[in-house]
């Protein structure tokens, strides 16, 4: 931008001195800054919309491509909307600031249950009327209960859901232990499989997303703990839990060491560095894109107490006092249409929250996932387990307790019993502060605070 100005001045007056160069540079800079200011003080729109459109702030579909695809889907909703994806931190900060200032500009918010919970119920609009109009859509009862936050009103409308499954390269299937059905694995068979695959390859090929932004804590909270102990919080330091951690240590010994760097398992799976992996469905979809026939996706394994699995629920809500609520409700209802929710599945790998028939012509990764997700939910020994409920702002800290236990026991090799006792105290402190009742798979008693046994 400054270059043409500089050269023209050089040719006009010689000699080229540092001062003249700087002076022309500064002039051009000032002119450049002022010119667009005069025309538009606000700036250039970056969410594909002008003024007059609804603002839909969300923590989902942050990746550029996903956001782009969701904007396309939004055009079918029939409500003019600009989609603004944001990271969790800025999302909460922005929403807090708007609510405190008493001038919300955001019309609709979308986020995972744990991201909406800090604002509920006091700072979200009551959406019971929308929920009543949508009652015929076939929502999951459990999920609808979540949206009530212990009241009899509904504060968010379930938007979409996801879960975690196992993905494996077909090359790894030949190392399956004899008699094992890959669709009905047990954790012991998974361990034997990972061991056999390691000896065949000369190096480990089982991977876990244990990186800084990986979702390993969900593997502990929603898969290993329920499967081995039948609980998540109450059984945190039980004898079953000790056996579970011993198992995980053994599994880790046949796990790819680079796992502590993995955040999305689709990349190491696609590159072949990892052949068997557990992760969030949306973080596995890309793995089979180039080699659709090279992969299988299967339900998570089962343990002594059942096949623990964790659904991830995202919801739509309206901040308290937001403008244009009628249009916002119309948008929420449109996004709850089965055809739009199937579109989201097709493009962005999040499963419908409403009852919808899953079409056959899905992309390879999503088709594989759909089979595994249905099989996992429908398994006879399925044991549903929720991500922390009612912890409010303490949500992330609870996850940290599980992550710390992993670091200490598995990575640092500390004593299991002692570490669990210490982490259990921390866990109890968080539960005391939040005064939260237990959630599934632990038995929930309304009004009674959850206790680590």
């Amino acid at each position: 931008m400054t270059v043409p100005v500089v050269t023209s001045q050089i040719s006009a007056r010689q000699p080229l001195s540092r001062r003249s160069l700087l002076r022309s540079g500064l002039t051009a800079g000032v002119a450049g800054a002022l010119a667009p200011l005069v025309s538009a003080c606000g700036g250039f729109g970056t969410s594909g919309g002008g003024s007059g459109k609804l603002v839909f702030l969300s923590t989902q579909f942050n990746p550029i491509e996903e956001g782009q695809r969701f904007r396309e889907i939004l055009t079918k909703a029939g409500v003019d909307t600009q989609y603004v994806p944001m990271d969790t931190g800025p999302f909460a900060a922005r929403l807090n600031a708007e609510l405190q200032a008493g001038k919300p500009t955001v019309n609709v918010i979308g986020g995972l249950y744990g991201q909406l919970a800090p604002f509920a119920p006091g700072r979200l609009e009551d959406l019971s009327d929308v929920a009543a109009r949508l009652s015929g859509r076939g929502y999951d009862r459990e999920v609808l209960d979540l949206a009530k936050f212990g009241t009899d009103r509904t504060y968010f409308i379930p938007w979409m859901q996801a879960t975690f499954i196992l993905a494996a390269s077909k090359k790894a299937l030949e190392h399956l232990p004899s008699g094992a059905d890959v669709n009905k694995l047990t954790y012991d068979q998974l361990l034997a499989w990972a061991k056999a695959a390691r000896s065949a390859n000369g190096k480990p090929v089982f991977g876990l997303p244990a990186g800084p932004k990986g979702l390993l804590h969900r593997f502990l909270e929603g898969y290993l703990y329920p499967s081995f102990t039948g609980g998540q919080i109450t059984t945190f330091r039980s004898d079953d839990a000790v056996r579970m951690w011993e198992y995980l240590r053994e599994l880790w010994s046949v796990t790819v060491r680079a796992s502590t760097n993995f955040e999305f398992m689709q990349e190491p799976l696609a590159s072949g560095q990892v052949q068997i992996a557990w992760d969030h469905v949306a973080r596995l979809t890309e793995a089979p894109t180039n080699t659709p026939d090279g992969f299988v996706m299967v339900p998570a394994p089962s343990g002594p107490k059942g096949r623990g699995y964790m659904p991830v629920v995202a919801g739509l809500a309206i901040p308290k006092g937001a403008p244009r609520q009628d249009e916002a409700k119309k948008l929420i209802e449109a996004l709850s249409r089965p055809d739009i929710q199937v579109d989201v599945l097709r493009k962005n790998a999040f499963f419908p929250a409403v009852k919808a028939s899953i079409p056959a012509d899905l992309p390879p990764g999503i088709r594989l996932e759909a089979g595994a997700v249905t099989a996992q939910q429908g398994a006879s020994d399925a044991l549903l387990s929720l991500a922390p409920v009612g912890m409010g702002a303490r949500d992330g800290e609870l996850d940290t307790v599980f992550k710390n236990a992993f670091t200490r026991i598995v990575l640092d090799g500390e004593d299991i019993r002692r570490t669990l006792d210490r982490q259990a105290k921390e866990l109890q402190r968080l539960l005391d502060e939040a005064k939260a009742p237990c959630w599934r798979p632990d038995a929930a008693v309304a009004g009674q605070q959850c206790k680590v046994a």
Binding site: P36, G43, T46, A97, E98, E267
Partner: protein, 293 residues
Amino acid sequence: MTAAGTAAPDRAAAPDAGVDRAPLARRRRNRMLVQVACLAITAFMAAPMYLITLAAFSTRESLNAFPKSFAPADVSTETLRSFLGATGVVPSFLNSLVVGLLTLVLSVAIGTPAGYALARHVFAGRDAYQLFLLFTRALPIVVLSVPLARFFITAGLSDTVLAVALLHTALALPTTVLITASIFTAVPRDLEEAALVFGCTRASAFRQVVAPLALPGIAAASLFTFVLSWNEVLGAAVLTLTNRTLPAQVLGSLQWSPLPYRFAGGFALLVPALIFIFVMRRYLLNMWGTTLR
């Protein structure tokens, strides 16, 4: 003449007869070590840039290959093009540019007089004041973000480029003031006094004598400001919704994006900063030269 004539064959015959060559050898070795260190540092800086550029121009298939190759296998601009074509990337680039230049102008306009005052006038509590200036940077923006956003919303400035520029000006001012103060200290007071003797007013002495001498340093300080504004993410992310700067628009999302996008985004963020540094590098040295004196 003759002495030199006889000395030369002497030296050729017996190289170290009577001459201590150790200092020369040491100097040579040191010089070589400096060169090696320079090369190592350059490689340290250049290697990631090279790898980012390489990855940004590769196809998705070659990015997924394992192990990856260090030489360009197949050049493709596909990811980069789809990155630049995504909603909001180009407008946010322009927003970043406007915010950066506005911040630059505002912080120079406010910071330079303050720096001049610090350099030329002795007043009670000057040192404490200089230290105190830095405290504005001691508070992390995470702590400030909610009250800040709330303030801008109440003031009706929320979601504008101007709001972000004001925030960045506030963030940049301490460094601008301190850098310009040291630059003005380096301009001899005698020159200014001489100008006054020869009939300049305080203002014209500043304009005609001090300012030209300090200009390169001020330019370098403003480069600093621009880069700070260009790289700031969190404040910009909280203050804007639909008129975002490039880092606010893409940096938050890049960490969740598939690898090809991270590289394309990294490349897009890297290039403007590199161009800026190349244009200004001479003045950067100038700034360090004066402040270190």
